[in-house]
């Protein structure tokens, strides 16, 4: 075993995110969707596919069209060499962030050089909960939280952390407006891979955002999960179809092959917590990851926190003390959508991208999300600085490939 290596993110793309059932990607099989996304990543980064070690694919409901170790099938579909491995990873919403963590571990140990970490979910074609949900009836009675619906946990968080309906709606509006501004200013153009549907149509725009949302409109919605609750469809992330992919490799590999490095992977963490308030998952996991990296929120320039629900986002933001201007700069899942298995790769890739473009003094970015059944997951990224030329003269081109 060699000395641990510096792990970097050297590319991020995603498919457009469209509403499940009625969106333009509803007709696209999830394996096709992520294969096109992976191909897009290979093309964008310019990485030589022959040098990829593995495809780690996050998926929250790996059955039906998402079943049969989809990752390996996507290797074939995306035209990667058959020597590239494929593993499907399930940590529910944290699946593709887990893929990044697994890759980072392997790269850090020198066991892999370059890994494609992708995520996908067609919530149209494989329902949440799967086709054949068969919970353990005794466990359901003993630990109801283990199977609790996500909406109910969002209500629990709102109750416990006293997040009002109005606050949730304001948060959602901000998410919508930030996403609308990002789209208008072309900040998604660089990350979206156009997807071809079976009918031959090319889809290249997100379908979930509702830029014309208003406070009055949101205030009129009925509660979605609890008759006397506060969470509505407008303050929840929509059910979505989408895929995302990032390239995780060693610094050495990136430099050698002229890849553009977006950020360095500094630390990561997962934690468990009471499943009835699973939405608070970002808090312990982020604290743990920041602790591993030896930083505090003051050192952080960018936070990408998955907006499963406004209630848990607000409560987590408060508990972690995340300043408004650092959080989800281009909007979050409430506006963009939350294809379960894809979201972790999206927010981590997005955090890397934003950190890369960040001009502030702060050095770090955090991506974090809550996970059903009561877990949290977080990644700490660091701004990448190329090694000083004096130490390693002319080992690699000084300017990475654009």
């Amino acid at each position: 075993m060699t000395e641990s290596k510096k792990v970097v993110i050297a590319g991020y793309v995603r498919s457009p995110f469209t509403p499940a059932g009625k969106g333009e990607l509803a007709s696209v099989r999830p394996d096709d969707l992520v294969a096109q996304t992976v191909s897009g990543l290979v093309e964008k980064t310019g990485v030589d596919p022959k040098l990829i070690d593995d495809l780690k694919l996050g998926c929250a409901m790996p059955e039906g069209e998402q079943g049969l170790n989809m990752a390996r099938l996507v290797v074939f579909e995306a035209g990667l060499p058959e020597e590239v491995g494929g593993v499907t990873i399930n940590r529910f919403c944290g699946s593709s962030m887990q893929a990044i963590h697994d890759a980072a571990g392997a790269v850090s140990m020198g066991m892999s050089d370059a890994v494609i970490c992708a995520g996908v979910e067609s919530m149209t074609r494989v329902p949440m909960g799967g086709f054949n949900p068969q919970p353990n009836p005794e466990l359901y009675k003993a630990v109801p939280g283990a199977y609790m619906g996500m909406g109910e946990t969002a209500e629990n968080v709102a109750d416990k952390y006293k997040v009002t309906r109005k606050e949730q709606e304001e948060f959602s509006l901000k998410s919508q407006f930030k996403a609308a501004a990002a789209k208008k200013e072309g900040r998604f153009d660089n990350e979206i891979v156009p997807i071809k549907t079976p009918s031959g149509k090319i889809v290249s725009e997100d379908g979930c955002p509702r830029p014309d949302s208003t406070a009055e409109g949101l205030a009129k919605l009925k509660t979605a999960f609890k008759s006397d609750g506060s969470v509505t469809a407008g303050t929840s992330s929509p059910v979505t179809d989408g895929a995302a992919a990032v390239l995780v490799c060693s610094e050495e590999f990136a430099l050698k092959h002229g890849l553009e490095i977006l950020a360095e992977v500094k630390s990561f963490a997962v934690t468990g917590l009471d499943p009835t308030i699973m939405g608070m998952g970002p808090v312990p996991s982020t604290l743990k990851a920041m602790d591993k990296a030896g930083i505090t929120m003051d050192d952080v320039a960018v936070v990408e926190m998955n907006e499963a629900f406004a209630s848990q986002s607000i409560a987590s933001q408060r508990e972690l003390g995340i300043p408004e201007e650092k959080l989800n700069k281009d909007g979050g899942a409430i506006a963009l959508g939350h294809p379960l298995g894809a979201s972790g790769a999206r927010i981590t890739g997005k955090a890397a991208q934003l950190l890369h473009d960040d001009k502030s003094e702060s050095e770090y970015a955090v991506s974090t999300m809550c996970i059903g059944q009561g877990q949290g997951i977080a990644t700490v990224l660091k701004k990448y600085t190329p090694p000083a030329p004096s130490k390693k003269p002319a080992a690699a081109p000084a300017t990475p490939k654009q």
Binding site: N132, Q134, N136, P137, Y147, F225, K226, D274, P275
Partner: protein, 854 residues
């Protein structure tokens, strides 16, 4: 010629409605309207908007949403060339002869030779419409007058002319009857044709007499409603429904064409109160309300006919109406009070006017009766009403009143308008003789058979139960020819109980033991509904008396009977129309074939009364779902589908929708015209005699308790959201237990249908023992509406289930289930049956993680 493609010109309420009904009948339709001047970007916006509106209509215009695709929108300027492919072109534009004349010329120039051109006019005579048109058009031109809404009103008035060939007339008649499903009544070319001519007189007369006699709108409607055999909306309710503003148009058109001595011209009258209502926008249900309306607090209000003032509506108590309930229409008009006098005044004038004009407007009196029954939903036509009162009685009373007796009525003196001769129905002709009432080929009416024969067996009876009232029970078996028996339910609402089951068994016995005399069984009821399900009054009484064994016996009897039909070696064909709910739906599920009227409303609605389908209905629907190749694989998708259907008591709004819900098979037949239903069912039954393949029992692997937990989890979400009540949680838990195969089911366990039936029974009985079920049943009996328990928050759903199990019927004591399982279910070959899954012993050893809340 066969009509395969149609065009409808004019996408207003009638045109669009006709287009939808043609689409329901499987016809491709071009729906054209004028170019929308307000919408330069979309020249077909009017027709497109009409289709969008059709999709939103309630009651639905389309029998299945997907049928909307059969209607292609367009406009008369750009798309008129599309007419060249159409076999029939129906005009439904504004009632203005000039507009129509222009359209006809346009149609004529663009249609293919021989294509039928039909107008849907209600007021303009055919000879006026043909004024100035080409000879070719005259030859192919007819009036097809639909009633609103075209899907639901069964009447189609057909007016033809001497220019038409018999072939054209036959083509249109067959198309409208067999394909579109309408009752075609041939009318003479006279103002208002048949139904509106008589109907308008009747409405005017009812309004006049009510106002003259100082009746309130409620009092009038209590008489000219159910007691008179007309829809319970009554007369003012009907005008509200039709639209107050429409009445002056119909009236003006009739007045302009009828001679001054016509009875209608004489009684036609306008009232300032009504004129003011129209002016103020109170045009009926489509406007702000009419004679009846809701105030701000949504309380029902009614208009004072004298002053126009609005006051709270109150139910009228009319002795005459009460009397009619007991002894029929004669008791109504014989009651000596203002209700009885009002009824007589309206009836005698309407009947006399009809008798006066019958042969002027129609070829025979039966056409007049049919038109009023199909177009105005009268239970009896005018001449049938006279027969019910007695011709001589009507003459006598009219003479007492000093009225002139119409010739036709006089000719019937000492006789009746209808008579049965040699088992065949005859009606009186203009000369006073009788002609046989001929049904079109392929029309077989149980009422005709009943008129001409006696039932082969019957246990129909009326039972008086203290505190409950009169209840019709039982069923009859009829010989409908060619070796086919028809079982007809004779009970209130065609509800089902021991006696109906007995007759189903009896019919099966007759076929099985009849030495080939009988070959097949058809289950059919001609009335409004096929069956509203099990007799709830009986169940309620038994439960109140704590005689639960009666309910269980009925369950057992029903299961045995329906199972017998399912596995019968002779064809069992059900022919439903209207509601087929609960047990009625279960009969369909057990039949070899269902020939359904398109307007069949099937549903397993037991959840509404806190029960579950337990005559094998749950088992049969689950059997179908597990064999449905469209559902994803695995044990849950069929279960979840059936659970959703049954736990939410889904009712199909047409036979086509019933196929989606699996209440009907894809292979089951649909008949558009109700009058052809029995004949179609009989034909199918005879066809099946030749090569009936006996049903085979179907075993299933069901998910067991883990599947039940998954279903309960979904219900818990609905409960939290307030979409399921506290008792829904309990009822659906029992359903889940049945559908997932009970405690012993799971991977590797074969569950038989017999075992599922025993689970149905066990869980049904558990619900019967819960007083909340009785509360739901009683609410349904008394109000015809389901009881919804009040909202409950802060209680975990699991506690509701546990409490119900503690308090309710102890399922464990229900020995049959255990026995059945041991006898009929088995695990797939395996060495060790024990210690798989969580048995009682292992359960104690599992330590669930102790998770701190908050």
């Amino acid at each position: 010629m066969t009509i395969k493609k149609a065009a409808v010109i004019g996408a207003g309420v009638m045109g669009a409605g006709i287009a939808a009904q043609l689409a329901n009948a499987g016809i491709e339709v071009e729906l054209l309207d004028r170019v929308d001047p307000k919408n330069p970007d979309n020249r077909s916006a009017i027709a497109e908007g009409a289709i969008a509106k059709l999709l939103k209509n309630k009651p639905a215009s389309f029998m299945h949403k997907k049928f909307a695709k059969r209607v292609r929108p367009g406009n008369t300027e750009d798309d008129i060339a599309r007419l060249k492919d159409c076999d029939i072109i129906i005009e439904a534009v504004f009632e203005d002869p000039k507009v129509k004349h222009d359209i006809f010329k346009k149609i004529d120039a663009n249609r293919k030779p021989g294509a039928v051109v039909a107008s849907n006019t209600s007021t303009i005579p055919l000879h006026d419409l043909l004024d100035g048109q080409s000879d070719a058009l005259k030859k192919d031109f007819v009036i097809t007058h639909f009633f609103n809404p075209p899907r639901y009103m069964r009447l189609l008035e057909l007016i033809t002319s001497q220019h038409n060939s018999q072939e054209t007339i036959d083509t249109v008649t067959r198309f409208m009857d067999e394909t579109v499903g309408k009752g075609v009544v041939h009318c003479h070319d006279t103002p208002g044709f048949i139904a509106n001519r008589i109907g308008t007189f009747w409405i005017q007369c009812s309004i006049n007499e009510a106002i003259d006699r100082d009746l309130t709108v409620e009092e009038a409607d209590a008489i000219v409603g159910k007691p008179m055999g007309v829809p319970k909306t009554g007369i003012f309710g009907l005008v509200d429904l039709v639209g107050l503003d429409l009445m002056p148009h119909i009236s003006a058109s009739l007045l302009s064409k009828l001679p001054p001595e016509d009875g209608y011209v004489k009684i036609e009258k306008t009232y300032p109160v009504i004129e003011k209502m129209i002016a103020d926008g109170y045009t009926g249900r489509k406007g702000k309300g009419g004679f009846y309306r809701l105030n701000d607090k949504r309380e029902k209000m009614a208009v004072d006919l004298k002053t126009g003032a609005v006051r709270p509506s109150k139910k009228a108590k009319m002795q005459a109406a009460e009397n009619s309930k007991k002894s029929g229409i004669k008791a109504l008009v014989e009651t000596k009070d203002k209700g009885g006098d009002y009824a007589w005044a309206v009836l005698k004038q309407t009947l006399a006017y009809t008798a006066e004009h019958a042969h002027e407007i129609a070829a025979d009196i039966n056409a007049v009766d049919e038109a009023m029954k199909l177009g105005y939903n009268w239970e009896k036509g005018p001449f049938e009403l006279i027969d019910a009162l007695g011709v001589d009685y009507v003459i006598k009373r009219m003479k007492q009143d000093g009225d002139k007796i119409p010739d036709l009525l006089q000719k019937a003196a000492g006789k009746s308008f209808y008579k049965v001769d040699n088992g065949k129905l005859h009606c009186m002709n203009a000369a006073g003789g009788y002609d046989e009432v001929k049904r079109p080929e392929g029309v077989l009416l149980l009422s005709d058979i009943k008129r001409g024969s006696k039932p082969l067996a019957s246990n129909a009876r009326t039972i008086k139960i203290p505190g409950v009232g009169k209840m019709d029970m039982g069923a009859r078996i009829w010989d409908i020819g060619d070796g086919v028996l028809c079982v007809e339910f004779a009970s209130t609402g065609n509800s089902l109980e021991f006696l109906t089951m007995k007759m189903l068994n009896k019919a099966a016995d007759m076929i099985e033991n009849g030495n080939g005399k009988y070959k097949a069984m058809v289950i059919h009821n001609e009335g409004e509904n096929f069956s509203v399900g099990a007799n709830l009054k009986l169940a309620s009484m038994a439960v109140k008396a704590k005689q639960y064994w009666i309910v269980d016996k009925l369950l057992n009897k029903g299961q045995e009977t329906l199972k017998r039909l399912k596995y019968a070696k002779f064809p069992v064909v059900s022919a439903p129309s209207g509601m087929a709910l609960g047990g009625g739906c279960e009969i369909l599920l057990h039949s070899h074939h269902v020939q359904a009227h398109a307007e069949t409303y099937a549903g397993l609605v037991e959840a509404g009364v806190g029960l579950l389908p337990a005559w094998g209905g749950t088992t049969e629907l689950l059997t179908r779902a597990t064999q449905n190749p469209k559902l994803p694989k695995g044990p849950m998708p069929p279960v979840a589908t059936v659970f959703e259907t049954i736990s939410t008591a889904k009712v199909a709004t047409s036979a086509f929708e019933a196929k989606d819900l699996m209440y009907l098979r894809q292979s089951d037949g649909v008949t558009m015209n109700k009058a052809r239903l029995l004949s179609d069912a009989k034909t199918k039954a005879l066809e099946m005699v030749k090569d009936l393949k006996p049903e085979l029992p179907h075993d299933m692997v069901l998910p067991g308790p883990s599947g039940a937990a998954a279903l309960n989890m979904a219900v818990d979400g609905f409960f939290l959201k307030g979409a399921a009540t506290s008792y829904d949680v309990v009822v659906s838990d029992k359903m889940a237990k049945v559908m997932t195969g009970g405690d012993k089911a799971g991977p590797g366990i074969i569950i038989t249908q017999d075992y599922l039936r025993s689970l149905e029974r066990e869980n049904f009985m558990a619900l019967v023992h819960d007083k909340r079920t009785l509360a739901r049943i009683d609410k349904m009996i008394t109000t015809n509406k389901p009881l919804r328990e009040p909202p409950m928050t802060g209680v975990p759903a699991q506690k509701l289930r546990d409490d119900a199990d503690k308090k309710g019927f102890v399922a464990r004591a229900f020995a049959p289930v255990k026995n059945v399982f041991n006898k009929v279910c088995h695990r797939k070959p395996s060495n060790d049956n024990k210690n798989k899954g969580l048995t009682k012993d292992t359960k104690a050893k599992v330590n669930w993680p102790n998770i701190k809340k908050g």
